[in-house]
C-alpha cells in the first residue's frame, strides 16, 4: 500500500494506471469496467450459452452440485418436459457436462 502523504487524491487513483486492455476489452463497453464483471476469458460458444440458460432456469431446480445430464434426467423424471435440444447437445459429448458453477463455488 502506498503511504498516505499529503495529497488524498493521489492516494485514491481516479483512473487505472494500467493502460493495457485485456483481450476481451474490445467486446466490452469500456476500459474502466471492473474486472469482476468481465467474463473470465473463457471462450464459450452458442451451445454453451444455451446450456447455461438451462442451468439458470429455476423451473428445473438448483444446478450446483449436479451434472447437466443428471439434472436433465431429473427434470424428465419429474415431468417438467425439458427441451430435447439440450438432451441432444449433452449426448453429443462435445460440451461440458458440469454446470457453470462447477469449480467456481
Amino acid at each position: 500500500m502506498a503511504s498516505v502523504s499529503g495529497n488524498m487524491k493521489g492516494f485514491y487513483r481516479q483512473k487505472k494506471s494500467n493502460t493495457k486492455s485485456s483481450k476481451k476489452a474490445s467486446a466490452k463497453s469500456g476500459a474502466a469496467q471492473p474486472t469482476a464483471l468481465v467474463s473470465h476469458g473463457d471462450d464459450y460458444s452458442a451451445c454453451e450459452a444455451m446450456l447455461r440458460q438451462f442451468d439458470m432456469n429455476m423451473a428445473y431446480g438448483p444446478c450446483a452440485g449436479m451434472t447437466r445430464t443428471a439434472r436433465w434426467e431429473r427434470a424428465q423424471k419429474l415431468g417438467l418436459n425439458p427441451p430435447q435440444e439440450i438432451e441432444k447437445l449433452l449426448k453429443s459429448g462435445k460440451v461440458q457436462n458440469e454446470s457453470l458453477w462447477d469449480g467456481r463455488i
Binding site: M58, G61, P62, A64, M66, A70
Partner: protein, 441 residues
C-alpha cells in the same frame, strides 16, 4: 414337543409378509457433491404438484401465484415450503457473534420462543407469514403447504386459510373375519447398557417364543406371528466411543453388547419372524434413512430366514395390512421445534403433512437425495408406530378425504419400562405387554 402324542402340539400361526423398504435403501444413490437444495427442490416439486390438484377443489375461484408474483391486497393462493425462524435454535454462526449475551448459556431442550415466525419459500422468493391463523408453534421448517391470503402493506402475507397435503390414499383394510393374530412391537432394548435388565428381556423372549407358562399361555404366544424391534437394541457404554484409541481389553467390551444381542435374537428368530430396525444409538449410519444393520453383526441370527435386518424408517405389509414405523428420530426432532399435547399428535401431524420427517435435512440428518424424497408418504399405513418413546400410548385416528383410519402407537423404551406393544391384526386393537422382575424381599 414329541412327548405329547395324544394332544395336538401347538403350531404358531403364519402370516404373509412383504417388505416395502426399497425406497429407503441408499445402495443405488451416489454422492456427487450435491447439497441439500436438491432434496428441497424434489420435495417442493412433488408436493406442489399434489397441492395444486387439491387447491383447484379447495379454492376454485382464487388465483394461484408464485411468491414473487404476489400483489398487495389481492387474495390468492401460494404454495411453498415453510421455514420457521427460531431465535433460540443453535446456529453455527453464534460462535462468531459479537453479542455473547444473546446466546443462552444453558441449551434448552425445546427451542421454541414467542418471537418465532414462519416464512413461505418457493424458487422465486420468500415471504414472511402473518395473521393469527397460522401458529408457529405447530409448524416446523420443511413442510410444504398451500396458503390462502393476501399480501399486506408491510410486505407480509396475511394468512386466511391453510391447506395441508392431508392423509394419502389408503389400501383397503382386509375385513373378512379371521382369527386373532398378533404382532409385537418393542424398542429400546439397550442390551449391554447398565440400565437394561437382562432377566426382563429374557422373560420377554421366553414368553413370545412359547417357553413360558402353561398350555393356555403358550396358545396365546402361538398367535404371535411377527416381532419388530424398533431401534436402540444395543447400549454401548458411551465412554468407549469418544474417538480415542482403545486398549485391547476395551475392544472386546465394545463387542460384548452386540454378541449378547445376537444370542437373544437367535432365540427369537428360531421361533418366529423378526425385523430389526436401527436406532439412534445403534451401530448404523447416522443420517436418515438409516441402513439395515449389517448381517456380520449377527453371525448366529442372520443364518435364519426369519431374521430380517431393516431400514429406519421401516415400511412393510403383513396379511395386506400396511405398517410404517420409525425408531423415534422424526418425532423426537419435532418435539424440539414445535409443541403438541402428546407424541401421538406429532405423529398425526406427520401424516397430515404427508411427510415422515419434515425437519430433515434442516435439523435431522438426512441423505442428500437429488431427484426424490423418500420420506414422502405415498400410501397411508394402517398402523403407524414410533419407537424409543417415554411411555406407551395409542390412539386410532380417522381423517382424510377417504375416511382413512390409522392406529398410532408410541412404543416405549423396553429397558426403562419393561413394556412391549401387541397389535391384533384382526381389528388393530392393541395392548401393552409388560414384564417386571420385582423380587419380594
Amino acid at each position: 414337543m414329541g412327548m405329547d402324542s395324544e394332544k395336538n402340539s401347538l403350531c404358531r400361526l403364519q402370516c404373509s409378509y412383504a417388505s416395502l423398504d426399497e425406497v429407503f435403501e441408499i445402495g443405488k444413490e451416489t454422492y456427487r457433491g450435491q447439497q441439500y437444495s436438491q432434496i428441497y427442490f424434489a420435495r417442493l416439486h412433488l408436493m406442489r404438484t399434489l397441492l395444486y390438484s387439491l387447491v383447484s377443489q379447495w379454492k376454485p375461484q382464487t388465483p394461484v401465484c408464485t411468491v414473487l408474483g404476489l400483489e398487495q391486497g389481492k387474495e390468492c393462493v401460494i404454495v411453498g415450503t415453510l421455514y420457521k425462524h427460531m431465535k433460540l435454535k443453535p446456529c453455527i454462526l453464534d460462535e462468531y457473534s459479537k453479542e455473547r449475551s444473546a446466546v443462552p448459556l444453558v441449551r434448552p431442550h425445546n427451542f421454541m420462543h414467542d418471537d418465532d415466525y414462519l416464512v413461505l419459500e418457493d424458487e422465486s422468493g420468500r415471504v414472511k407469514l402473518g395473521g393469527d391463523l397460522i401458529s408457529p408453534s405447530v409448524f416446523v421448517t420443511g413442510i410444504v403447504v398451500a396458503l390462502h391470503g393476501k399480501e399486506t402493506g408491510a410486505g407480509d402475507f396475511s394468512v386466511l386459510e391453510v391447506l395441508e397435503a392431508g392423509l394419502p390414499p389408503q389400501i383397503e383394510f382386509p375385513l373378512k373375519s379371521r382369527e386373532d393374530k398378533y404382532i409385537v412391537l418393542v424398542s429400546g432394548l439397550n442390551v449391554g447398557s447398565s440400565d437394561s435388565n437382562p432377566l426382563q428381556l429374557q422373560l420377554f423372549i421366553d414368553h413370545i417364543t412359547g417357553h413360558l407358562g402353561d398350555e393356555k399361555e403358550q396358545s396365546i404366544a402361538s398367535q404371535i406371528v411377527h416381532v419388530v424391534i424398533a431401534g436402540n437394541s444395543i447400549g454401548i457404554p458411551r465412554g468407549l466411543v469418544n474417538g480415542q484409541n482403545l486398549a485391547s481389553k476395551d475392544l472386546s467390551r465394545i463387542a460384548e453388547p452386540i454378541k449378547e444381542l445376537d444370542i437373544l435374537l437367535n432365540q427369537i428368530a428360531a421361533g418366529l419372524p423378526l425385523d430389526i430396525m436401527p436406532g439412534p444409538n445403534d451401530p448404523a449410519n447416522f443420517s436418515l434413512p438409516q441402513q439395515p444393520l449389517h448381517r456380520c453383526l449377527f453371525p448366529g441370527s442372520a443364518a435364519y430366514n426369519t431374521f430380517r435386518s431393516c431400514t429406519n424408517p421401516h415400511s412393510f405389509e403383513i396379511d395386506n395390512i400396511r405398517f410404517l414405523g420409525t425408531s423415534g428420530q422424526n418425532v423426537d426432532d419435532l418435539e424440539k421445534y414445535s409443541d403438541a399435547k402428546d407424541k401421538l399428535e406429532f405423529m398425526e401431524r406427520t401424516l397430515r403433512w404427508r411427510h415422515i420427517a419434515p425437519t430433515a435435512p434442516n435439523t435431522l440428518g438426512c441423505y442428500p437425495y437429488t431427484d426424490s424424497d423418500p420420506f414422502f408418504i405415498e400410501s397411508c399405513p394402517h398402523v403407524y408406530f414410533v419407537g424409543n418413546q417415554n411411555k406407551y400410548e395409542s390412539r386410532v385416528i380417522k381423517a382424510g378425504s377417504e375416511g382413512q383410519f390409522v392406529r398410532l402407537i408410541s412404543v416405549p423404551k423396553f429397558s426403562e419400562s419393561g413394556v412391549a406393544v401387541v397389535v391384533n391384526l384382526r381389528d388393530l386393537e392393541c395392548h401393552a405387554l409388560s414384564f417386571g422382575t420385582q423380587f419380594s424381599s
